[in-house]
């Protein structure tokens, strides 16, 4: 008697635990905002949550105990879903973020991300498949709309700069024509004024170009290829050779600079700008510029461009990277002040950051990080493409 009693109370305990677990599971399934489907091993729907019924406008009666493909007038009979459930899942027990686009009779075209997991059940209840469906149609549409707006904006920026440049060309050209044709009839002051007109329009032209570059740098996609940094720096130095000779400067480039994953134009832009600045903001008898590597870690390599130039007071270390920021009068150093802002954007677009170590009058070292090129990174990129 006693034995029977204890056996029955044991069964009772297990009997209570099971409904509790079920209720717990059920509560999760019902609470989750994402549509969920629970299938048996034969891909027949055991149940679905409220979110599923609401999102896809179907009733439990027409859903439960039906094959998943039969649901809602066979609107779930999607070839890609079949492949996932019948081929991918049996091999992998789960898949994640599988994008499926489908035209539903009831709710129109939808883009969904599917996650699924196969659960093996104990004793005879077979297996169970949990499918979570995230409707990303709106996000997708928003992304596409944003992309469209950005490309419109790009076209707009282009048109504006283009239109702005035409009158500038006229101002610059006619001021030069005045000097050429009537220069002798103008006194020195008159000539100077006309020259200033010409210079201002040339300067404005540069500002417009820089503005356009700035607006585009971070927008355009970055093709990730293997960049031989040593070679790029070599080319930059070659292109700057006239200036280097004029200034009697020396440029040292460390051997064996590591390769990075980026695109050649951007990497060149960064080094050209920093090396150019190192020579420009330099009053030393013998200017020198040193290019090398400070360190490698976390998938990034930190390069430096060091000079013995005029240096930068620490209180300006942030400001110099702002667009059109200048610390010096135009008479001292010409330029639009967009250079470092462009460099900063380029570096950040490539996933790195840039900073400066310097004291006024004591030279400057610009440091920036770029992603190291690795075989694995390249193969990941191939898959993404």
């Amino acid at each position: 008697m006693a034995e029977a009693k204890s056996e029955s109370s044991g069964r009772k305990r297990r009997g209570q635990a099971l409904p509790e677990a079920l209720a717990y599971g059920q509560a999760i399934v019902e609470t989750v905002r994402e549509p969920l489907l629970i299938l048996d091993g034969g891909l027949r729907v055991r149940s679905a949550n409220r979110s599923f019924y609401q999102s896809f406008r179907v009733s439990p009666e027409e859903t439960e105990d039906h094959l998943v493909y039969e649901l809602g007038n066979r609107q779930w009979d999607i070839p890609k879903l079949r492949e996932l459930l019948e081929e991918v899942l049996p091999k992998n027990t789960q898949f994640e973020d599988f994008e499926v686009e489908h035209e539903f009779a009831t709710i129109g075209r939808r883009t969904m991300l599917l996650n699924a997991r196969r659960l093996l059940h104990e004793a005879g209840r077979g297996e169970m498949i949990l499918v979570a469906i995230e409707d990303i149609s709106e996000r997708k549409q928003a992304e596409e709309a944003l992309e469209r707006r950005l490309s419109e904006l790009d076209a707009f920026a282009y048109t504006v700069t283009h239109e702005l440049k035409e009158p500038l060309r006229t101002i610059e050209m006619f001021s030069r024509i005045v000097l050429e044709d009537y220069g002798e009839r103008l006194d020195e002051q008159g000539q100077d004024h006309v020259m200033r007109l010409a210079r201002a329009s040339v300067r404005m032209n540069r500002l417009i170009d820089d503005l356009l570059t700035l607006s585009r740098v971070s927008r355009e996609p970055v093709p990730q290829t293997r960049i031989l940094v040593g070679q790029v720096v070599g080319e930059v130095v070659d292109a700057t050779q006239t200036l280097i000779d004029e200034r009697g400067a020396s440029v040292e480039v460390e051997d064996g600079l590591p390769d990075v994953a980026a695109d050649p134009a951007r990497v060149e832009q960064v080094f050209a700008n920093l090396i150019g600045n190192a020579l420009k903001f330099n009053e030393s008898e013998q200017p020198f510029v040193r290019v090398g590597v400070r360190g490698v870690g976390g998938g990034m390599v930190t390069f430096y461009v060091q000079d013995n130039g005029i240096g930068i007071d620490p209180k300006y270390h942030e400001r110099i990277f702002g667009p059109f920021e200048r610390l010096h009068g135009r008479e001292e150093y010409e330029g639009t002040g967009a250079g470092l802002a462009i460099v900063k954007r380029v570096v950040e677009t490539l996933g790195g950051r840039i900073w400066v170590e310097s004291e006024a009058g004591a030279g400057a070292t610009f440091l920036f990080m770029l992603p190291v090129w690795t075989e694995e990174a390249a193969s990941v990129d191939m898959r993404a493409a």
Binding site: Y158, H162, R169, M173, I177, N205
Partner: protein
């Protein structure tokens, strides 16, 4: 070596300032040249086809300078029509335009433009560009019109 006959240049350009600049630059050229100016794409086509206001005695240009952005018929359409016309296809066409947009450059060359030049803003560079152009296309390059 070319004869003494001045080189005939068709300039299609709607901006009178740019026309002045181009004239000035070509005046400096050491090659004798006649410039014919048309102010939009339709006029350019009329000139080339001796249609509309252009009679049978309209000269056939040795060189065409073509702006992209023009009223009525734009430069790209003019270029397309020139290159599709057996009579005109061999005349070198130089796109001289304010647009440096990649799409425009690529499309122009695809349509058969012989050279694409972005109008420089700076006086010296503009003058130099047109001078170099004249030097290259009129003095250095051998053109089909000489063969014919």
């Amino acid at each position: 070596m070319r004869g003494l006959k001045p080189v005939q240049i068709l300039l299609a350009e709607d901006n009178p300032d740019d026309v002045d600049f181009a004239r000035r630059a070509l005046r400096r050229s050491r090659v004798a040249n006649d410039i014919h100016v048309v102010w939009d794409g339709q006029q350019a086509l009329d000139f080339l086809l001796r249609a509309g206001n252009y009679g049978i005695d309209t000269p056939r240009p040795d060189l065409i300078l073509l702006d992209l952005n023009m009223p009525r018929v734009n430069g790209m359409e003019v270029l397309e029509k020139i290159k599709a016309n057996d009579e005109l296809a061999l005349i070198p066409v130089i796109m001289l335009t304010a647009s440096g947009r990649d799409e425009d450059v690529v499309k122009s060359y695809k349509l058969g433009a012989n050279t694409y030049i972005e109008k420089p803003v700076e006086f010296d560079k503009f003058m130099q560009a047109v001078e170099v152009l004249g030097e290259y296309w009129i003095v250095i390059a051998k053109l089909p019109s000489e063969v014919a």
